[in-house]
Symmetry: C2
Subunit: 463 residues, 2 copies
């Protein structure tokens, strides 16, 4: 039996009074559009979708939901990969799709304040005129609120950090209907508890982010992209470790196995052959620096037997390379019609990356499973994608998934580097965190005593 | 009346059984050595000092203290500047001075795991052989545990971040005697709540850090230090904003007013004249990059009328410059014998730095007070030091202090950029955080229900 109440007519009236009837829907169509993210977790319908337009409205929706014991699940762009915004217990989906305003630009401080619904790609387009950009790039057109909620990352994290490293201040709505401000517009702050980072990555289970002040970065003068192919997974992965430990400040360092390179070459719009490969990027303020960095990267790759090494600063060529990388999930889906995908996301210390990749390869072999490997290798972050059609194959994929996750934890890493816990990783929270999981639970209890915020996520059920 | 119990013989016996009698002292001398930090806050004696040597011992001391309702205040090197480790309510001072081991070095991951008592300067000496360093540099020989507790920073934060940005994982002792592990050895993690950052900067009020895995940085190939003098505070501060908004990735960008430059020239071991000045540093992987960065900095400074511009890569000269900067507090104390110091630490967004400096100058003038200004200007961080001998002068200093702090908050900044809240900044927590302060209080209540951890800090009393 659900511990929550249903959304009855009285609650619908209260919600409509807050967000206006135009910003509320109980239609099947709208609820279905907010029932499933890009993961393979089963869809679940909410009872109502609301689209607040102001922070005050978000807070009032939370207050009503809390009083009425109705669950609220925040929704950004629906581009997450662990079922993070699926309303498992029904109730209210609170979509930020109509909160896309830029509140303030402070170009001299490299800061912008936005509502949470804006997509990071849309944001970066608007920032072009300032010569600034927001570095995290998780793919799709993820909403800033979702990126903060999941602490999303992407290929540029190796240089610029994850979403949590590129935000200074936020406004957050709490279950009691209060709005609080966390962080500071100063880039340094030692004034009490770091609530900013407590809410980031909490997947809407502690509060809902209603505004964020992001730390921007000047667009680099010179951007060089490099594609390098290697004779073996081992040599490609060895190059990752070498580049990182050389101290080179690369802006992206992506690994893909031979099957992934082949798939992208056939279907993904880039001619990358069928060998294990690295895709790299270097950002520099001067041509000379870029050339020196590039020479060092070339030397490392050639020493490790690189079969191919293409470097380019041409914007059109760079765009093709990175689009091929960023659209890899869509490419997979297109190339394997009718299949669903189990997508794994783990991260380990960089020195353990070879062991992780080797364990993943072996596990795929043992289970006789087709899988594609790609990852933000510079961060020790690996993704393994396994297509399946039938229950039996899916069960095998899940076993492989578990084996690789436990290996990552054993290697000092984490069950999720950037996709968040959502539904799929909840069962690994105890193995990963041990007694600290109870501390997380106590914080959840403190900030959301009725458990209305995104129930069923992060914490393993039945424990 | 104190809400706490005194440390009686039974409790002393329990503590001695945990840490061994050799690592416990009730002598006046030992208690006095742990009664005051480097701030001007009055000393307060604890009842007993314990020096645990293991994490388990720290946790057991907390368990006993919690059961017996005795306060525990963590002590690192005693180098803090806001009274952070003063045992205001007596009880136990838990010193980490005998927890100075290096637990593990992982040079290929740029990681080191240490006990919390090790000084960051000692640590950096041990790291020389690996070509790595731990960037935060708050001065003195602050202990890593204290740096984490206060989220200390220093002059290199503009490039490398504060302490909170250079740590991956910690072990923390809780009041119930549990040890938990937070964070991950992977540089990316999206697995639940960010407990790591919750404990960092909590000043020992939520738990006590017993081990930390730090993120290290390769020692740069080329380090160039620059001293530039300007005709006015305005032009020096304008140069700060220009350098930052040029996108130059400077490793240090320090401002000092003419009185501070003069004091250092007379007493501090560097010949910096008596004009407002900037001290900068650029870290680069290549000579060519360093030269290009330096040319741009020189151009900015000369356009703003710099009277002097000296750049050097000579290690001996650089050392003299940075020692003069780092020992500025000791220089002040030596130059004004018999005086005490009110030292202010605030930070604002970089664009507001000129307004902050101007407000500080005017306020000093209005109150006819002598004050020295220095600061990590690249971070928008300013320190104002005011000497005093008598109560009347101190009261004036406090009024100036308050005025500048409120101005910093008004400008979108913070009441403390790097010294922490301790005793002196507690009264600004409500103006700075508003309703978020109650959330901090609820977290404190959750993790330390009996309030035994460093009582009297961070939270304003009587509210």
């Amino acid at each position: 039996m659900s511990p929550f109440n249903s959304v009855n007519d009285m609650i619908l009236e209260q919600l409509a009074a807050v967000v206006s009837p135009d910003n509320l829907s109980t239609t099947q169509a709208d609820r279905q559009l907010h029932a499933q993210d890009m993961s393979n977790h089963p869809a679940h319908l909410s009872e109502v979708v609301v689209w607040p337009t102001t922070a005050r409205q978000v807070a009032d929706v939370l207050r009503i939901a809390n009083e009425q014991r109705v669950p609220v699940t925040a929704w950004g762009a629906g581009s997450s990969l662990e079922g993070n915004p699926i309303p498992l217990f029904g109730g209210i989906v609170l979509s930020t799709e109509r909160m896309i305003d830029i509140v303030e630009v402070r170009p001299e401080d490299f800061q912008i304040t936005v509502q949470p619904g804006i997509g990071y790609k849309d944001l970066n387009e608007k920032l072009v005129r300032y010569g600034l950009f927001f570095p995290p790039d998780p793919g799709a057109n993820a909403a800033i609120g979702g990126m903060l909620g999941n602490n999303a990352a992407g290929s540029r994290t190796v240089k610029y950090g994850a979403t949590k490293d590129n935000v200074l201040a936020m406004e957050v709505a709490l279950t009691d209907g209060q709005l609080i401000r966390v962080g500071s517009h100063a880039i340094k702050q030692s004034a009490g508890y770091d609530l900013l980072h407590l809410f980031i990555g909490s997947e809407g289970t502690l509060g809902i982010i209603t505004e964020a002040t992001l730390q921007l970065t000047p667009v680099p003068t010179v951007m060089t992209s490099v594609f390098a192919a290697f004779p073996s997974v081992e040599s490609a992965v060895a190059a990752v470790v070498e580049v990182r430990s050389s101290g080179l400040d690369v802006a992206a360092l992506e690994f893909m196995d031979e099957k992934m390179a082949d798939l992208i070459s056939r279907e993904g719009g880039a001619d990358w052959g069928d060998q294990p490969a690295l895709l790299m990027e270097v950002h520099a303020a001067h041509e000379e620096t870029a050339a020196l960095d590039m020479a060092l990267i070339r030397e490392i790759c050639e020493e490790l037997g690189a079969l191919q090494f293409d470097a380019t600063t041409d914007p059109a060529k760079r765009k093709i390379m990175w689009q091929a990388r960023h659209h890899v999930f869509e490419t997979q889906v297109r190339a394997f019609p009718g299949q669903r995908w189990q997508v794994l996301d783990i991260a380990v210390p960089i020195s353990a990356f070879p062991a992780l990749v080797s364990h993943a390869s072996q596990t795929l072999q043992v289970y006789d499973m087709f899988g594609l490997m790609i990852g933000h290798a510079g961060d020790g972050n690996l993704h393994v994608s396994m297509p399946y059609k039938d229950e039996g194959t899916w069960q095998r994929a899940l076993k492989i998934n578990d084996s690789i996750v436990y290996k990552a934890i054993e290697l000092g890493g984490t069950s999720t580097g950037e996709h968040g816990v959502g539904i799929g990783k909840a069962k690994f929270m105890a193995p990963e965190h041990g007694a600290a999981l109870e501390v997380m639970r106590s914080l959840k209890q403190t900030l959301d005593p009725n458990g209305i915020l995104n129930p069923g996520k992060i914490f393993p059920t039945g424990t």
